[in-house]
Amino acid sequence: MNWTWFHRLGSPPHIYRIAGTLTPWFAWPAGLLIAAALYGGLVLAPPDYQQGEGFRILYVHAPSAWLSVMIYGVMASAAAVGLIWRMKVAHAVAASCAGVGAWFTAVSLLTGMLWGKPMWGTYWVWDPRLTAQLILLFLYLGYMGLRAGIDDLGRADKASAVLAIVGVVNIPIIRYSVEWWNSIHQAPSVMKMERPSMPFDMLAPLLMMLLGFTLYFAAVLLVRLRAEILRRERTASWIREALR
């Protein structure tokens, strides 16, 4: 088997260049999808038969919640690859994920509170789903704090990678909390095995939002990764070429 591709994946100059080329290919479709989904979700989709116009918070809440969990998955996977194969670029990917993940976890909590108030009558309850999501925010903040607290880059990479990997136990708890326990949070409408329980004109904007947010994250991650690689490759001669 030819392993060249794997070694190129670990090569900072290669990744730096590829990331720069790829960014607009993620950013533009993301922008178009999110704009179209905004129109679809706010204007075209019919009001919900129970929640009226209020259900439209779904179109920002669900994609943020999806990003918060998906980014954690990317971060922990990259951290594991970095730990196992000692791949520096993988650690750079993990480090680039945390800030964005923390932001969207906070957004999912805030939009959830703004949805909970009119529907449940309260901004916050110590419900399993809500609590697990709050723990996710603390995991991100802990990861960032740990990295910031260790001066030696190699040690920061290793220690934060272990934290990221241990924190993965929280992900299935978030996912299944609404099924395992008596949660006030509604069960998934889309991310489940059966058919989504929504009419098409309600579902289409949501799917577009989910895809748009995912592509948006990819674009942001690539820019952050380029910054992280430059910061790490302090004396590499390729930087001279790349910055020309």
Binding site: V60, S64, V100, A106, L114
Partner: protein, 56 residues
């Protein structure tokens, strides 16, 4: 228009939720770009220092 903006009484919850999300989207673009620009600037400064050092 007024009817659209009022969202059948949910406006006070719905629009802040959209605003917060849009804010996060914009802020993360700005932060990522700034981080990249700063990293490039720092790398340029390092390279300039190196050149100075080697010419002495």
């Amino acid at each position: 228009m007024i009817e659209f903006l009022s969202m059948d009484g949910y406006a006070v919850f719905l629009w802040p939720a959209y605003a917060v999300t849009l804010l996060a989207i914009v802020v993360n673009i700005v932060l990522a770009r700034r981080a990249h620009e700063e990293a490039k600037e720092a790398a340029r400064r390092r390279l300039a220092l190196e050149d100075e050092g080697s010419s002495i």
